[in-house]
């Protein structure tokens, strides 16, 4: 889901960068002292998650984990993801520096949206928690695919075609991310429930 350098026109790159900068500012403000270490660990997890590829179906896709990061950090996910994406661009040549803003919107935007929608459902009944956390993993990837389609709409013309292609390629990863997110949360619920967003409210 990383968009390479030179694909997008500059107005899209600029608006992506502006959105990402605004999100990062909000995230840094909302990130309190006690959660900085957590943000760092999740940023590192996101950074290496893209190295895990899942060879299902015709193409192989990689874990993204933006849902987990968003769920545990809320708005703090934006700076965590910016840092990880920047390092991926510099060290692995995934994505690129000019597309950093757009890629941040693709990954962190859905993370924050899923946090806002699904986090209040956590820490009720286990079944609801499972469904909500599965949905976080699932929709954070799905929404990412839709944003990729939107970003590419101006270069590859057909939004539905591109979005469908991206989403179809990521269906396995959506399901896997759903389970990973659900597993993470049920694990954290047992060992460290204070990390979960529900207990903050």
């Amino acid at each position: 889901m990383h968009i390479s350098e030179g694909v997008l026109s500059w107005p899209i790159l600029a608006s992506g960068a502006a959105l990402a900068a605004a999100g990062t500012a909000v995230g840094l403000k909302k990130l309190d002292y006690d959660r900085i270490a957590q943000a760092g660990i999740l940023s590192a997890s996101f950074f290496v998650a893209s190295l895990i590829h899942v060879p299902i179906g015709p193409s192989s896709v990689h874990l993204i984990l933006n849902g987990v990061v968003g769920l545990l950090l809320g708005w703090g996910a934006v700076p965590a993801i910016v840092v990880a994406l920047f390092l991926q661009a510099v060290l692995f040549q995934y994505g690129g520096i000019t597309t950093l803003g757009v890629n941040t919107v693709i990954m962190a935007g859905p993370a924050v949206i899923c946090y806002l929608v699904f986090a209040p459902m956590i820490s009720k009944k286990p079944r609801i928690t499972f469904l909500a956390t599965f949905a976080v993993g699932f929709f954070s990837v799905l929404l990412g695919g839709i944003i990729v389609g939107l970003a590419l709409m101006f270069t590859e013309k057909n939004f539905f075609e591109v979005a469908a292609l991206v989403i179809a390629a990521h269906i396995p990863i959506m399901i896997i991310e759903g389970f990973v997110t659900a597993f993470c949360v049920s694990f954290l619920k047992k060992v460290q429930p204070s990390l979960l967003p529900g207990s903050y409210q």
């Binding site: 943000a39 990880a84 060992v191």
Partner: protein, 216 residues
């Protein structure tokens, strides 16, 4: 009750530890890469340019779009890769060429073939054939070659070229593989190190704010 609280107390430290260990294990086992970066590699063979395109991890780009541009950005020709990720074309123009691969879903990359790689063959030929001063010598070697081996100069050239092509193609294959650098362990650990450093910086600033507000 007490017991479970005890478990909770150690679990925070343990959790961080488990997380770090997991991250490192993942990092170590992650050498098999994945579809997120495309690379294109091109080499010149006579008047033909061969290209090979693949995703990081070695998966070939099937039916990717290839566009060839001259230095001024004019589109010279267009084509699609086959299922082996290969696409070959005749040199359309004697300039340096920019070969751009568009693999869809926002993946693209390019390779530049410098003019020296396209030209020298021509120049060599010209030098060899236009030797008015040493024409006797050329004639001599030509007759010599043809008398000794029964081959004309052109045939000899062809044979040499074919053999070279055969010998060089594995090397080219290797170069093509090398042009797709996978993330190295130093990159991965370095990235994690940067993140830990940033956490330190963040904690420093936030902590200063915190202590400032506590002791105004």
């Amino acid at each position: 009750m007490k017991k479970s609280r005890g478990i909770l107390m150690i679990s925070m430290k343990k959790l961080v530890l488990i997380d770090l260990v997991l991250i490192i294990i993942i990092a170590l086992s992650a050498f098999d890469a994945h579809a997120h970066r495309v690379t294109i590699f091109a080499w010149v063979d006579g008047d033909t340019i061969h290209t090979q395109s693949k995703f990081s991890g070695g998966k070939r780009v099937n039916n990717g779009e290839i566009n060839v541009f001259d230095p001024d950005g004019n589109l010279l020709l267009k084509g699609n890769t086959d299922e082996k990720g290969e696409f070959s074309f005749k040199v359309p123009k004697k300039t340096s060429l920019k070969i751009k691969l568009i693999a869809g879903m926002g993946h693209q990359n390019e390779w530049i073939v410098p003019v020296e790689e396209i030209e020298p063959l021509e120049q060599d030929r010209l030098v060899l054939s236009d030797q008015p001063v040493d024409s006797n010598k050329v004639l001599e070697t030509k007759t010599k070659a043809s008398t000794e081996t029964g081959l004309t100069r052109e045939e000899l050239e062809q044979v040499v070229e074919q053999t070279l092509e055969k010998k060089i193609s594995p090397v080219m294959q290797m170069l093509s593989d090398l042009s797709d650098p996978k993330p190295r362990i130093s990159d991965i650990l370095g990235g994690i190190g940067y993140i830990i450093g940033l956490v330190g910086i963040g904690a420093y600033f936030k902590n200063r704010k915190k202590t400032d507000s506590e002791n105004p």
